[in-house]
């Protein structure tokens, strides 16, 4: 059980780091949203599940799972709202041809 928690924590942390690196490295706004929308959702979900396993079975773990559900529902909506606002403002996506 302890090993399982450790695996979840480490993989979650790996995806959070990748998301942060992606937000720094990608060339334009839309590609950065790919990193933030996907990497953060899975990373935080795995990390919090790992903490819940580490904590054992009680009310706090249930609340942690509630956070996972909330992140799973809310994070994609946040990304979509941002991309829609940017697209309506006329932000052009970066393309390889334009370089």
């Amino acid at each position: 059980m302890k090993t399982l928690a450790l695996i979840f924590l480490l993989s979650g942390f790996f995806f959070i780091t990748v998301a942060a690196l992606g937000v720094i490295r990608f060339p334009d706004f839309y590609t950065r949203l790919h990193a933030a929308g996907k990497g953060d959702t899975l990373g935080i979900a795995l990390f919090v599940i790992g903490l819940a396993i580490h904590n054992g079975f009680n009310l706090v773990s249930f609340k942690l799972l509630l956070i996972v559900l909330f992140i799973f529902l809310a994070n994609p909506i946040g990304g979509h709202v941002l991309s829609r606002a940017a697209f309506k403002s006329g932000l052009k996506p970066w393309t390889r041809k334009g370089e």
Binding site: K2, T3, A5, L6, L9, F13, I16, T17, A19, A20, V23, I24, F29, R32, L33, A36, D40, I44, F47, V48, G50, L51, H54, N55, L59, V60, K63, L64, L66, I67, F70, I71, A74, N75, I77, G78, G79, V81, L82, R84, A85, A86, K88, S89, G90, L91
Partner: protein, 92 residues
């Protein structure tokens, strides 16, 4: 296997990631990049709060703060994005 020291390491690394995101927030170039960075900071702050709770042995209190912080961050992100809908400054 998951000791307090390991959680402390995670906490420090997360704070470092928040500072990395702060670079994106300050650099831009568009207002939506800044908002994206702020959104990532907001979700990472949930984890930081929970980890502080575990280290202080008071998770039951910090987790409520984390939930309300997450909900508030999400709502403010949506409201600000709605405000910039179609009239954000997109000059590179």
């Amino acid at each position: 296997m998951v000791s307090d020291q390991l959680l402390l390491v995670f906490l420090v690394a997360l704070v470092f990631i928040v500072f990395l995101m702060l670079y994106r927030v300050l650099k831009g170039p568009t207002v939506f990049d800044r908002l994206n960075g702020l959104g990532v900071i907001g979700t990472d702050a949930i984890l930081i709060l929970i980890l502080i709770g575990f280290l202080e042995k008071r998770v039951d209190m910090y987790i409520d703060i984390a939930i309300s912080y997450g909900i508030l961050g999400f709502i403010s992100l949506v409201v600000i994005a709605k405000y910039f809908d179609g009239k954000g400054d997109v000059d590179q």
